[in-house]
Amino acid sequence: MTVDTETAQARTQKLEGLGTKRKRVEDARFTQGKGNYVDDIKLPGMLFGDFVRSPYGHARIKSINKDAALKVPGVKAVLTAADLKPLKLHYMPTLAGDVQAVLADEKVLFQGQEVAFVVAEDRYSAADAVDLVEVEYQELPALVDPTKAMAPGAPELRDDLKGKTSGAHGPRKHHNHIFTWETGDAAATDKALKSAQVVAKEYIVYQRVHPCPLETCGCVASMDKINGHLTVWGTFQAPHAVRTVASLISGIPEHKIRIISPDIGGGFGNKVGVYPGYICSIVASIVTGVPVKWIEDRMENLQATAFARDYHMTGEIAATKDGRITGLRCHVLADHGAFDACADPTKYPAGFFNICTGSYDIPAAHVTVDGVYTNKAPGGVAYRCSFRVTEASYFIERMVDVLARKLNMDPAELRRKNFIRKEQFPYTSALGWEYDSGDYHTALDKALKAVDYPGLRSEQKRNREAFARGETRKLMGIGVSFFTEIVGAGPIKNCDILGLGMFDSCEIRVHPTGSAIARLGTISQGQGHATTFAQILATEIGIPASNITVEEGDTDTAPYGLGTYGSRSTPVAGAATAMAGRKIRAKAQMIAAYLLEVHDDDLEWDIDRFRVKGAPERFKTMAEIAFSAYNKVPPGMEPGLEAVSYYDPPNMTYPFGAYVCVVDVDVDTGITEVRRFYALDDCGTRINPMIIEGQVHGGLTEALAIAMGQEMAYDELGNLKNASLLDFFLPTAVETPAWETDYTTTPSPHHPIGAKGVGESPNVGGVSAFSNAVNDAFAHAGLTHTQMPHDHWRVWKTAERLKLTAAA
């Protein structure tokens, strides 16, 4: 019997299936400089497009003169709104039910807005010509503050919406107002707050930031005039949706459009949107008859393609004196910029912000969100998080800390006291979400034990005493955060984008010699899908992962899917992969039964084969079955071994985690050193622990950037003051601390393999852990909340305000 067990182990190992630290198949090409990113594409006769962009935040265009630009050698065309108008392409629909100017029509509404598109033989002559397009502007007062944008006498930004009292998401109450979104029980929440023993109130701003992937956005559009086919290669996180949108906008039938996402150099939400550059490249290719490439530079990326956050949140939290939370109210002023181009499911103009009751059993809650136009770039994407979940998590995790101060309770203890208990799952929150599973107490307890939380608090006490005695100028801060994500959008019954249900898909073909290809509707931007989806399949169908090719991103070959963002690949496409695998296995079982001359039910699955129950020596391996599928199948059965699954998830998944951050703040310089960061993640079933750990490291580093230094800073005129990597904070290896990772495993009950998604959790939980730590460092001096980012200057200002600095 021992021999059998060893064999089974060896066979399992050979599969490199679920749970193994399989090395990535993508790496061979990337480490040798053989990746194929969009700017690597070079087609015969290809032209290069470049934009003339607005230098102003708000201005009227009086005239555009292209003459000088057209004289530059190599320049083929200069497109403006006037050229696009006859084609009705000067505006395009956004993902949020608004429209966005492709090229500015009479007015520019944000700095960096696209005004004209120059097409030339190479990028140098295009850049020369961009400088020579003469645009005469009349500057108008700019609005960069959403509160001021809603003032009664504020300038009206959107001429095209003049007089419209309702939009895609209901009534508009002001000329710069987009929508009001309300959820929860207003009366019950009001009652909870009015009757509460303790109420804490705070104004919390989650500043505007940018996903800033290392590769900017871009595309190559190629219109073949002979057969009428349009091919577009581009940095698309959702290639199939882009195809549908491109068809709807251009009128080209969808079967004649092929969208290809090649290797993508990071996305983080920035590459979900549809941008004027894509439309202009397509039009330019149609006009010139040759392929046209457009690639943003970094300044354009930061100025014009999708930002994230910019949520201005007013919160009230009610509790009993002993720390039982009884109600939560939140109002958000959401700055959406000049056009509402948020990437959210249609019914959720504020995304899943109503996950803001977090991990806590709060009986009453009420949320209102007002979307507002300003003279800033459009966007509002989910930057390494599910739709608006980082905002929600930051809000509740700060509010709980603020309440803890008011109650004079330990913040970890307050969390423990209010957690949804394990036996309450599936749990329906006051704001309507059904949390599928969780075990929060176990996770937090494990985290607190791992960092010796009581020990840290005693050390902090000694540190504060030493600080008071003048023996140190550093203050120790401890940040605890506990997050619950809501990912894997989502069930078609409530999730769609532009009417496209948010299912995802997988199609599998098993070849005669027992290898396979799987194609999915998602697209990796560094997540390692080619590695992990093959692992899911290896376990499901018993073919080694190394014998399975995973392909994504070509709409001509892959099944339709909604793409990769919001941690949806594993929860949705991963589920589709498992389900398609099970269809393969079901057919394989019938073939095996036929070959072994037994009834289907007499067989059982054993790692990589079907064997006869009670007679394990009689079996057919998957490889044998695969060959048989092409020459010897039961009478009446079609030959071949293929399956496709379109998976409509029954629910979202709810990954969670407990993070602890320890910082040392120098009060005289504001320099905040991250001494320790411990992250415990529960993402359900773990497909590849190596990749999970890598995702957590990366997400935490982005959280560090956001919490400690990232902010898109606009001046009063609408100038973006930090539109380059000189000023926009991306941490280097020096600022980035070493991360400690840990996990618990609570499988999702409704996902075929119990997986929940992980890529975004560390960003969702990380930001509040950093911020809570900085706030905690000053708690003894009376601070309850200070706004992010906690850069040196702001932290020093906080210390100064609290009279802790040397000068004070």
């Binding site: 040798q32 400089g33 990113y37 140098y124 150099g265 560094g526 990749i691 991306l730 280097t732 290896a733």
Partner: protein
């Protein structure tokens, strides 16, 4: 604009090309020589995706004019493996230690790490972090990159020891 005659030694190969003097080295490499390993991430020499080795130093090829590189000896990621196809220890260890995700920073990062280990074959973790601080990565959080470089240093040291 009139073009200049440019001579380079790239990855052990002599190459000649005609280019405008204002052309950036990264564009000569990527668009004229077909070496698309080095990438463009920022245009302002902050991100290091375009890092190549020029005359024994790491340079950011997005801020080097092609004219400045005339006569130079260059090494890019494409020249990192041995002529027989054996990968460099860094290329192996980036894979083994999961030191990359989207892969966009990887060519510049490995090329930079190559020069770092030439200058300091036995770096501490802090020295590695400082040594690659001109190269940004948005995916990995650097931890596994640092690990990969340290592991490659060990491999290279043991190869050297075996040879001696």
């Amino acid at each position: 604009m009139s073009k200049m005659h440019l001579k380079l030694k790239v990855n052990n190969r002599d190459v000649e090309t005609l280019t405008e003097p204002r052309t950036l080295l990264i564009h000569v490499l990527r668009e004229q020589l077909g070496l698309t390993g080095p990438h463009i991430g920022c245009d302002t020499s902050h991100c290091g995706a375009c890092t190549v080795d020029m005359n024994g130093r790491s340079v950011k090829s997005c801020t080097v004019l092609a004219a400045q590189a005339d006569g130079a000896t260059l090494l890019t990621i494409e020249g990192m493996a041995s002529p027989d196809g054996t990968l460099h220890a860094l290329q192996e260890s980036f894979r083994t230690h999961h030191g990359l995700q989207c892969g966009f920073c990887t060519p510049g990062m490995i090329t930079r790490a190559y020069r770092l280990l030439q200058e300091n074959p036995n770096p501490t973790e802090a020295e590695i972090r400082f040594g690659i601080s001109g190269n940004l990565c948005r995916c990995t959080g650097y931890q596994n990159i640092v690990k990969a470089i340290r592991a490659a240093a060990d491999t290279l040291a043991s190869v050297k020891e075996a040879a001696e």
